[in-house]
Amino acid sequence: MLQIECPWCGPRDQSEFSCGGEAHISRPLEPDALDDIEWADYLFFRKNPCGRHYEQWCHIFGCRRWFNAIRDTVTYKFIAYYEMGANPPELD
């Protein structure tokens, strides 16, 4: 069981959270200007890395606020947390 640190509520049990998938995907400002390949890339194609992953999480059974996290997809260990809209912290 993972322990996840909500930036607002502190360390809580994983079952209180839901994972919102890859972070830093922004909806294209002009969808009409995209071709089918670019639109598909935005909708469906993902990084899916084996290692460090930048993700969105929501403390769904808590404060219900979203935040970003960096997590290792092999060890499942959380490496850093940061706010929505913020740039990810620099890591080695």
Binding site: M1, Q14, L43, F44, F45, N48, T73
Partner: protein, 417 residues
């Protein structure tokens, strides 16, 4: 030449205390070049190599496996085989697979213990039952057997299910595919490996692919932990690791890899003679020939490559199983494990060409790849051998994510993850 397995070979080997059985396949060292390289020695990769050699006459083939044969998802699933999918495209490819299963043991001279004990999909709400009737009717139209059962039918077939109206999620009925069932998963990997080896395919274990060599938009070989191997055709069949291998050729995929868990109980005397699946409470269960209850759980929602999942998933899964089968409440679980499944946005696989000429990919089977093993291998072998997808896998091109022609099997096919 390998000796054929038969009742006589068992008797003959019994006389020498079974000390002289031949190895099931050669331990090959990689040659400098092959006609076709298959990356990934799981069931799908081995089946691809077997059908390439047997059906399409291409036997200068290497299967590269980074670990050992049967050590990945092929040995980590719940062994269920069925073809009762909703949409025409999926129904056809899974039914092709089921037809191959029905004669597979004879075909590859290896007992894969395919047991058509029936697969029951339970309905717990009015909407479940409407979906089940719709799916069963769709199955009829595609020539796939499916029956709609009432609660009384279900109670007669599986008396240990709690079919009382005061159950928390009462069972209102079910669909039954009698031709569905289970197979011995390790035997599938070993059987395909042995049969492919016999036709001249090199099976190379402990050989990890580290890069994909390309030349002017065309694949020319692979870099591996055991040196560079040339080939003008390469097939990627690496399930949970599809994204990382595809990235070696600069390809991006619409899949995400998730841990999917399963567990087995201590062995019991025969108590459950069919496969029972429930979408609504989310659990699926069958009893192995050894007597263990084989139970499938759900995926974790986060991306994970660790071959293990969350405890909360098991907890939710077992509470669903105990709701359905109160008699199992004191059964102890023996083992639990996870496999990495690559899930597509529409819960259907990707089988076909890529933007790199000569490089083919077979991935995205998500949580339901085991049942498709022979069919997936067959259509992928056709695609590699002819350079063109077969009619059965043409709808499963990666291009469907650009055209929008998705095949949405999420929730339509028995158990949604």
């Amino acid at each position: 030449m390998k000796k054929k397995y038969s009742i006589f070979s068992i008797a003959r080997n019994a006389l020498t205390s079974h000390a002289n059985w031949q190895a099931a396949w050669r331990s090959s060292d990689p040659k400098k070049a092959y006609d076709v390289i298959i990356i990934g020695g799981g069931g799908h990769g081995l089946a691809t190599a077997y059908y390439l050699a047997k059906t399409f006459g291409i036997s200068n083939v290497a299967v590269l496996e980074k670990g050992w044969i049967g050590g990945g998802n092929t040995g980590r699933n719940t062994t269920i085989v069925r073809s009762n999918y909703l949409w025409d495209e999926s129904a056809r490819i899974y039914e092709k697979s089921l037809k191959l299963w029905e004669s597979l043991s004879q075909d590859i001279n290896y007992n894969v213990m395919f047991s058509q004990r029936g697969v029951l999909n339970l309905g717990h709400t009015l909407q479940d039952m409407r979906d089940i009737e719709r799916r069963s009717n769709a199955n009829y139209l595609n020539g796939i057997d499916s029956e709609v059962l009432t609660t009384a039918d279900v109670a007669r077939l599986v008396p240990i299910l709690d079919t009382s109206p005061d159950a928390r999620y009462p069972i209102l009925g079910a669909s039954l595919q009698k031709r569905g069932g289970v197979a011995r998963h390790d035997a599938v990997a070993w059987g395909f490996a042995r049969a492919a080896d016999q036709l001249g395919v090199d099976i190379i274990q402990n050989c990890e692919v580290t890069g994909i060599q390309r030349n002017e938009g065309r694949v020319s070989g692979v870099y591996t932990s055991r040196g560079t191997i040339n080939a003008s055709n390469v097939g990627i069949v690496t399930a949970g690791h599809s994204s990382t291998v595809a990235e070696m050729a600069g390809l991006r995929l619409p899949v995400e890899s998730h841990p999917l868990q399963a567990l087995v109980s201590e062995p019991l005397k025969p108590i459950l003679h069919t496969v029972v699946m429930s979408n609504a409470v989310h659990g699926y269960i069958s009893q192995s020939d050894k007597g263990e209850l084989v139970i499938g759980a759900g995926v974790d929602s986060y991306v994970g490559y660790g071959q293990r999942g969350s405890f909360s998933i098991i907890e939710g899964n077992l509470s669903a199983i105990v709701e359905l089968f109160p008699a199992f409440s004191r059964v102890r679980m023996l083992r639990q494990w996870g496999g990495i499944v690559d899930v597509c946005p529409d819960a259907c696989p990707i089988i076909g060409e890529t933007d790199v000429r000569g490089l083919y990919i077979n991935c995205g089977w998500g949580t339901g790849g085991f049942k498709a093993t022979p069919g997936s291998g067959w259509v992928f072998a056709h695609t590699i051998a002819t350079g063109q997808p077969h009619a059965l896998n043409a709808p499963f091109s990666i291009k469907r994510f650009n055209t929008g022609a998705l095949i949405d099997e999420h929730g339509a096919a028995g158990v949604a993850h």
